[in-house]
């Protein structure tokens, strides 16, 4: 099992890097926001993986069970998910306004419009 000992952490890092790459290599703002969300989910997976206890169960008290997984990461992450979607909405609202102002959500086209002589 030694190969799988850190498997969850490795996948979380791979997901984070895919999200990160989406954010820095793509020019479309909506695609960047999707990448940000992928990154975010990777952090959730990392935290929840750290909270898992071998042989433990769901942290809800029940007779006959002694070992429970760590409830703290669950608390942190479930609030983070809701805060995350609120932030995503804010980012998307910005993208919509940028599209209204520039007629595009492609980063390089926005920069090109900004650099045009006579703009603003």
């Amino acid at each position: 099992m030694s190969f799988f000992a850190h498997y969850n952490y490795h996948i979380a890092i791979i997901l984070a890097m895919i999200g990160f790459y989406t954010m820095i290599s793509r020019t479309n703002l909506v695609k960047k926001i999707i990448g940000l969300n992928v990154f975010q989910v990777s952090v959730f997976i990392l935290f929840i993986s750290i909270g898992v206890l071998e042989g433990g169960t769901v942290p809800i008290l029940r007779e006959g069970y002694e070992l429970y997984s760590n409830p703290l990461p669950h608390v942190l992450i479930l609030t983070a998910i809701v805060v995350g979607v609120a932030m995503t909405a804010l980012a998307l609202a910005l993208a919509i306004r940028i599209h209204e102002a520039y007629g595009t959500v492609e980063e390089d086209e926005i920069h090109a419009q900004d650099d045009e002589p006579g703009a603003q």
Partner: protein
């Protein structure tokens, strides 16, 4: 068996992420993102975190996906191909960062190791003491609403602030007159209508169960709020925005986010008025566990009200904005169908 499921789901989720990265059609990428979130929710269930799984399923596969779709309908559906952009530099940055992080995992404790530092400090206290001090079986709810209530208050305020930001950017008042149907309406699909009619009441009922039974089973204000909002959003998608808008009067809905924050903050002020510290529930009743439970229920209601109404308002703002900008919609509401 658990390990096998875990390994397979993680492999799926990695494949999904690569597909999201590679798809140029943003509509397909968003659908893939919904699937990605659903797998993540399944993964959280296998990792003993049903509370998190509820939230992720409702938010990731539901609300986030719908919001991104609504944005796509108002921006561009396809990503433009990038000619002449440096592809090497981002790849180098990502590989170097990833390699450093993977190297960092070498020292991490093995997955599920009981001797890991994460299980040594505050977690045993919560697990051993919360049944006596709080007296509710769901430790996640106990930690969320009692031990770490300051944290939770902060997060609720952040959600509220994000709504203020969205309103500032997209506007709440500038609502078009005589709006008939949203840009995402599917009301000509009979199958969807029948299924939605069956499913929506169950989702709403389940949301209420999650809210009020959250002390005994997985659940609480955050989960209930997003589930409730997801149910109404589904209704709005199938039966049109106008009918969904009538479920909760707009005037009331606009005030609910603030009301939820006030219920939460007011509970804290109430405990101070009774002579305790801010959000110190023990002064609410004589018997500490009873007092704690009263406090938790009040706080969870505040959280549920804020989260549900913020999610709904954000969706309505996005959908109405999209409708207003559709060509032909200015002349008559029906033309856009």
């Amino acid at each position: 068996m658990d390990t096998l499921v875990d390994i397979l789901l993680l492999a799926f989720i990695a494949i999904c992420a690569i597909a999201i990265l590679r798809l140029r059609d943003l509509f397909a990428a968003v659908m893939m993102f919904g699937l990605f979130s659903l797998i993540a929710a399944g993964l959280f269930t296998t990792m003993h975190a049903p509370d998190v799984a509820f939230t992720e399923a409702a938010v990731g596969a539901g609300i986030s996906t719908i919001l991104i779709l609504a944005t796509l309908s108002q921006t561009a559906r396809r990503e433009k191909s990038q000619v002449g952009r440096n592809v090497i530099l981002p790849l180098v940055v990502v590989w170097v960062t990833g390699a450093a992080l993977i190297y960092g995992t070498v020292d991490l404790p093995v997955f599920g190791d009981p001797a890991a530092a994460a299980h040594q400090h505050v977690a045993p206290y919560y697990i051993n003491e919360s049944p006596h001090q709080i007296g509710i079986p769901n430790m996640v709810a106990a930690v969320l609403a009692s031990y770490r209530a300051y944290d939770t208050l902060g997060e609720v305020v952040v959600v509220f602030a994000a709504l203020i930001g969205v309103i500032a950017l997209l506007g709440l008042r500038r609502r078009p007159e005589g709006v008939e149907s949203g840009p995402l309406t599917l009301d000509h699909h009979q199958v969807l209508k029948v299924v939605a009619r069956l499913v929506v009441p169950v989702i709403l009922l389940f949301a209420l169960y999650v809210q009020f039974h959250g002390e005994y089973s997985p659940g609480g204000g955050f989960q209930a709020g997003v589930l409730f909002a997801a149910g109404i959003i589904l209704y709005a998608l199938v039966f049109g925005l106008k009918s969904a808008r009538q479920v909760i009067p707009p005037r009331l809905l606009g005030r609910l986010p603030a009301a939820g924050v006030l219920i939460f903050g007011g509970t804290g002020l109430l405990t101070m008025a009774l002579g305790g510290n801010y959000l110190d529930y023990n002064v609410l009743a004589e018997h500490p566990p009873t007092a704690q439970q009263i406090g938790i229920i009040m706080v969870e209601i505040g959280v549920g009200v804020t989260v549900a109404s913020v999610m709904l308002l954000i969706y309505f703002i996005f959908a109405e904005r999209g409708m207003r900008r559709r060509p032909g919609n200015d002349a008559g509401g029906e033309a856009g169908r």
